[in-house]
Every structure is written in C-alpha cells, then in structure tokens.
Amino acid sequence: MFAPAQRRRIIGGGAAWLAALLAFVGAAAFALWQAAPPAAGEPGAGFDAYVLGVARFTLWQASLSTALSILLAIPVARALARRSAFPGRIWIVRLMALPLGLPALVAALGILEIWGRQGVVNAGLAALGVAQPFSIYGLPGILIAHVFFNLPLAARLMLAELERLPGEYWRVSASLGMGPGSLFRFVEWPAMRSVLPGAAGLIFILCATSFTLVLTLGGGPAASTLEVAIYQALRFDFDPRRAMLMSALQILFMLVVLAGLRLIGPVAESGMTGGGAVRRFDGRGGLSIVGDGLAIALAVGFVAAPLLAVASSGLAADLQRLIRDPLVHQAFMTSLVIAVSSALLSLSMAIPVLRARQGIAASRRVSTPLQLLAALLRDAPSVALLVPPVVLGSGWFLLLRGFGNVSGFAGPVVVAINALMALPFVCRVLEPALEAYQVRTARLVAALGMGGLPALRLVVLPVLARPLLAALSFAMALSLGDLGAVALFGSQDFVTLPWLLFSRMGAYRSADAAGLALILALLCLLLTIAGAPRARNREKEES
C-alpha cells in the first residue's frame, strides 16, 4: 500500500507530531512543578480535606449526570424509534443535535433563564403558590446543564442503533406476536445496550471534566469540580502545587474510566441494514401513543426551552449597539482568528497522526517499538484532552513570562490548547474518511503515477473535502465557544467572545450578555450545520 520510503516518512511525521504534543504538555507541567514553593515539598502536602471533597463531588456529579442522561434518554430514543414517521420528527432529531454545537456558556445562560431564580419554572411555581423558589445553583444546576447536553447525545446514539436494526426484526417480532415488554427485552434493549458503555464513558468524561457549566452554575466551593478548583487554585490562590495534584488526580480518574471502557470492549460495529424505510408494527395502543408522545414532548421542551430563551432575550437586547461596539468587534476578530488558527492546527496534527497509524497498520511486520508508537498515536490525543486546559495555560504562562508581556503570547497559547482540545474529535471525524480513501482511491492514484499537486487537486481534495470541512467547522465551533483556555488569560488586552460574555454575566449586564450569547450561539450553530453530514438528505432522496 505504501512505498517503503513513503512509509518511513509518514511514520516519522506522526512520531514528530507526537513528540511535539508531549513536549507541549510536558513543558507546561514542568514549569508548574518548578514554580511550586519548595517548602511544601513533603509528599501528600496538598492532599487535604478540600481536595478530597472536590474529588468526591466531581465523581458524584459526573456519575449522577451520566445516569440521569442515559436513563432519561432511553424512553426518548425508544419513542422516536417507534414513531418512525410523523410530521416534524426530523426536526426533533435535529433539535437533539443542537446542544452539542452550543457553547457551554450560552447553554448556561439559557438554562438560567428557564430554571433560575427569575426563570420560567420559578414563575410557574410561584403561580402555583409555592413559597420557596427552586434554587438552581449547586448540584441541581450542574445536573440540569449536564442532562441538557448529554440526554440528546445519548438519545441520538441509541436512536441510531435502533434505526440500524434490520427492518426484518420488526416484522419477525410482529409476526411472532411479541408484546411491548418482549420487544423491549429481546430487541430494543439489546440494541440500545450495545452503545451504552461507549456513550456512558464519553458522557462521564465530559461531565467529570466539565468546566464552564460548573463555574457558572456550581455556585460555590460546596459544588466545585476538580477542573474548576484547579482554575481557582491557579487564578486566585496561585497554588501550582495544589493545581498539579488535582490535575494528576483528574487524569488518574479519567484513565481508569478509559481503561475500563477498553476492557468492556469497543462499541459494536454497525451491521448492514436491509435498506428501505423502517416500518414498525408495535405501539398501536392508545397508552403507548400517549407515553411516547409525553416522552418526546418532555425532551423537546427540556432541550428547546433554554434555546428559545437565549433566542428571545438575545433578540430583546440592543443588538445594533452591540454590533457597533468596538470591544465586541475586537472580541469577534480575536475569537475568529483563534478559531481558524486552532482548527487548522488541529487538522495539521490529526492528519500526520492518522497517516502514521495507517502506515503502521499497513506494515506486514510490526516491531515492538512501532506497536508502542501506534498505541501512543491512538491514545495520546484523548489523553491530552484530560489535561485541564488551565494547567496547560498556566504552565505556558509561567514559561513565557520571562520573555515579555504575557498577553502578547496569550493568543498562540490559546490556539494551541484549543487545537489540542479538538484533536480527538477531529481524529474521529477524519479517521474513517482517510481509511476509506486509502482503501478505495490511494492504490489507483499510485497505479496512475499521480503525485503532488495534481493528485491533491484532482483526487484528494474532492474526495476528502467534506470530512475535512466537517472536522474544520467542528474544531472552529469548539474553539469559538471555549472558555476553559481563555479563562486564565482573559483581560483588557485579550478578549474573546466567550470571555466578553462571561464578564458581562459577572457584571450583571444581562441584556448585553443575552445579545452576545445569541451572536455566539448563531455562529457556533452555523458552523455545526456546515459540518453536519448530509446522510439524512440522501436517505430521503433515495426512499
């Protein structure tokens, strides 16, 4: 598949990127370690009740969030799969994809407008005569926000699995006379269960490392996660030792989760479907129609309400003034430059890493060092994601402090961190496309002796344009909505849109915040839509 020289080159390229990645993370860790006051040198010094409490709360809220998201998603996925054709269904499925593309800060704002003290829910409770308003800050807010993001994710994953089942399954079970209980036990649950380890692991990691949502909705030290506590230790206490300790703890926890997932085994690969639209023969009873309707309506309400709140209060804000505000201009330009650069950087890392893995996989004999390199290339992007961005940020802050004004370096550091955060996702989007390219097209290109620019222009770009675009826009959306990396650097001189939004929220300029949230949400949603696969439309045309 690869010529020996080419193989050496691509494996070398992958190894170089891997080394750069490790150096970037390692340098930050080293700088922080150096900065730790030597007096606190005895082992376990920072390992106090506070750290333990934060660690316990981190795992507790992540477990609860994961369990709630998945348990609540089961009836929603089942209802959407069973009601395979009703007007507006496609829009509900699309709605379930929206939270994933939404910046956490914007979602937090929308959730506050629904569930907060002045929110819709409390207004309703007051109207019902409930004297004690529902308080969102703390565990309830964190759970609501995590379920808002992850219930739709879990529902979509399970729905996809149910829709992948061959149409014959529904006919056979109808013909055998299976009731709803049997159908759930023998057909629906096994399908949904097959994605659960992967989905639960992903959701757990997202919730355990959640930063922005906990920062905005946690409301105090009683409900703080490691990620937020690390940020506070660095930004407010400047206690690098404690930050390092907590980072190590977080990485350790997440590694245990990842290893557990590896043990359970990979998510089952999708089977071939019989094709044609899915016809379901169950769920004809009135009770099941009402139940499904209720499950779908509640999920739609829960997800759509904060989005609508963001839209309506954003429109009520003085958008014209915001758009003319030079500070908003500056933030927009900064965000845009960072988003584009970090997306390109992420892509330029993902491709060599993936190519090197392909190169190793295509080798007939794989030596032990190469096997190790392949494993590193596979896992390093995900593991780098576990290093809190604020640790990377503060490490590089310390390193660069000696070279001049730090705010001048803020941009490149944030770009690098954002690129790293997007890397696992970019890899996931690009990997199947690159593999398909290698299998279908690469041999032909080699046989025709094509190379260089003509091959790039005529073959590579047309074939890979869509996945590349999808990866780029996803990485851009991620960077555009990110507060984690910017939180440490945000200042008068370095303002991004999320940072501006965060400071306006903190300064109780809620009209401005609402307007900025709407702008940010629209930008990210546009990018998400631009990168979304077109598979659904094609299905529609075929049927």
């Binding site: 061959p166 149409g167 006919r171 013909s175 055998l176 006379g177 299976m178 209980g181 049997s182």
Partner: protein, 221 residues
C-alpha cells in the same frame, strides 16, 4: 383437506404503493406449495406482506383458513414468515431465537425446551442451541428460521426469497428440507422466488405477478 380447498383468499384487495396500484383477487390451495414469480418490483413481496399483515389493504378482504383477518395484526394471523435474511436476532442464541416461536415472552417449560431441540434436530442442527447467528453460515441461519416456523405450528408458511442468499448446493438442500417438512405438517406454503429451478422442483402450482396484478395461475402437479 382436498386440493381444491383454499387456505388463503384475497378478495378485491387494493393497495396504492407509490404510483403503482396493486390489485389482488386470488386464492391459494391448502396444503400445497405455490410459487410466486414475476419481475422485480411487480408486487410479489407486497402480496406476501398483505397476507402476513405487514401491509394493510386500502380496500378488500383477506381470508386465511376461511376467517376474515383483514383487521388483524401480524401476530394474530395463522402465518409464519421467513425472509431472505435477518430472520434471527443476531444477539440471541439459536435456542432463544427458536423458543420465541413457542412463546414471544420466552416463558418455556420443559416441553417447550424439548420442542426447540426436536425442531433443531429436524432441520439438521442438533446441538446448535447455544450458537449465535453470526457464527452460523447463511444456510444454517435459514434452517434455524425454519425450525422456528416448525415450533410455531402455524398452518401457513410464507417464504420471501428464502434461498436467494445461498449457493446452489445449499439452495437445493433447503428446498428438499422445505418439501419434507411441508409433507410432514401439511402446511400451506407460498414461495416467492426468482429461480425457475425452485418452481420446477418444489412447487405444486405457480402464480405469476406483473405490475401489481396476478397475470397467470398454473397448476404444475
């Protein structure tokens, strides 16, 4: 039952299917094997789906064994169905797949479990109880489906191109098995097929479908 008695009767059944209007007015003899042939998209499978209850007619009446089943769901009809593929739940073992034919909630007593073993022995898969469908060959999977149809003891068996994914040798074996089981049970069998050999070897009669209508009915033996 005499050869002229009808197990299946479609009376003025109409079904709009996209731009095609299907119209069926046809009967099938009890205790016989009837082949259903015709070009792709002519409505062969739709005819089977109407009888099985997967499609509801826009108008007309479907009688099975003399009873009007037009409004009945698939599970209430005296019918077993075998498709070309995916007849078995891939994540359930062979015994469970067959056992679901005895009770769709899998509440099996000792007699039920024995019946599963007997049926598997009859299709030549003795001892396959714990195997999972992905570890079986295509022919073996279809024989498990046949075993499930056996334990269901429904008088009508609908076969929707059940041999299409098999190689010629397996196809002949499956054909012989169907013939033997049909003789033993006296089931009424409808067989949708593309293979002229199947018709000649297996069928007592043949119904030719074209553009959603029955074009010809022939008795072969």
């Amino acid at each position: 039952m005499t050869a002229t008695e009808e197990a299946i009767r479609l009376e003025a059944v109409r079904l709009a299917f996209g731009s095609v209007e299907m119209r069926f007015d046809v009967g099938f003899a009890a205790g016989r094997v009837t082949g259903i042939i015709g070009p792709s998209g002519s409505g062969k499978s739709t005819l089977l789906h109407l009888i099985a209850g997967f499609e509801m007619p826009d108008s007309g009446v479907i009688r099975l064994l003399g009873r009007d089943v037009t409004a009945d769901g698939p599970g209430m009809r005296p019918v077993s169905v075998i498709f070309q593929d995916n007849n078995l739940f891939a994540h359930l073992d062979v015994a469970t797949n067959v056992g679901l034919g005895i009770d769709p909630a899998l509440k099996l007593d000792a007699a039920g479990r024995a019946a599963v073993g007997d049926a598997l022995a009859k299709v030549g898969l003795r001892g396959f109880e714990k195997r999972r469908p992905p570890t079986l060959s295509g022919g073996e999977r279809q024989r498990v489906a046949l075993a499930r149809a056996l334990v269901r003891r429904r008088p009508i068996l609908l076969l929707d191109e059940p041999f299409a994914a098999l190689d010629p040798e397996r196809r002949a074996e499956m054909g012989d098995l169907v013939t033997a089981l049909q003789r033993e049970t006296g089931m009424t069998v409808l067989l949708v097929t593309h293979q002229p050999d199947d018709v000649v070897r297996l069928c007592d009669a043949v119904v030719e479908i074209e553009a959603g209508m029955v074009r010809a009915v022939r008795t072969l033996r």
